[in-house]
Symmetry: C2
DNA sequence: CGCGCATCCTTGACAAAGTCAATTATTTGA
DNA sequence: TCAAATAATTGACTTTGTCAAGGATGCGCG
């Protein structure tokens, strides 16, 4: 019990030299409980958690956590930014063009092969972000129904 | 000379059942001349080309062209949408976290392997978008200079 | 060549997402 | 407990993009 739980939120913050505040703890909790939430969604859930938080507080906490790798920010076209707690495991996302649903997928080819493009143009690459676009089962069914017409 | 050039902009528009207008022609020209331009940048260049265009005209033209596959829209996090003329060749992008510079790269593993995630969750996938994040040569140098301090 | 209809463009108001800057509050080490 | 450093709140502002109504243009047809 006295051992360091790496998942202990307060300890994680301290490990990164960050102060421990109710806002940050609540944001961390919400993000891991509801992956792929938007900033707005996080704000709502945080308010349910600790009563209130300012918009700026949410952006600030999410930004700080993202800068320190405690949270990952993804920004699909046509949708506000979304946040999730899974970091550092090289997983990617599958997004529905119709309803915007986001699902996690592990990297297609294994560990981190995506980190080796055919020509890096001299860039110093540190991440490969992959988004698979398509239609989720529900929306696929809707579209087929329409086509069969 | 009289043969159909598939790259003939006006013909391309007609092939897709679209009217040929000065605005669309100018937008197409600008997008292929300046890949990765933002909507704002396209608007400026189009004005230099044909005198004037409304903001809505630019968005409308870009949207219509994108819907018809004549232009590709990419939307990197932390940056407005960008547009390019290269379509259908499964190439990806390399973006600098500092200066936002965008560079094309061919698909890392070949044709379209990205279209086969390890688990498609029942989704009907039609595109895989890959963004490599890192630092361009110039910004890498700047950062190292700062670190060597 | 000119008419009419469909399509397109312009205009101006509006909305969403996020940022900036100044002030106030909280955390935390001494 | 105190003071300095760090965070949070507040409210105005910016950027990027959309909506809706009306005028202008492209283009098939006679």
């Amino acid at each position: 019990m006295s051992s360091k739980q790496t998942a202990e939120p307060a300890a994680l913050l301290r490990q990164h030299g960050l102060q421990v505040t109710a806002q940050r703890l609540a944001v961390m909790k919400v993000v891991s409980a509801h992956p792929h939430a938007t900033a707005e969604g996080v704000a709502e859930d945080v308010r349910a958690e600790i009563g209130s938080i300012s918009r700026q507080g949410v952006y600030d906490a999410l930004g700080t956590l993202a800068d320190n790798g405690l949270v990952r920010r993804i920004q699909p076209a046509g949708s506000p930014a979304r946040f999730e707690g899974r970091t550092g495991d090289n997983h990617h996302h599958l997004i529905c063009r119709d309803c915007g649903a986001v699902v996690d997928v592990d990297c297609a080819v294994g560990a981190a092969p995506c980190l080796t493009p055919s020509d890096d143009a001299g860039y110093n690459i540190d991440e490969a972000e992959v988004i698979y676009w398509g239609y989720c089962p529900t929306c696929t069914a809707n579209r087929e129904a329409r086509t069969d017409n």
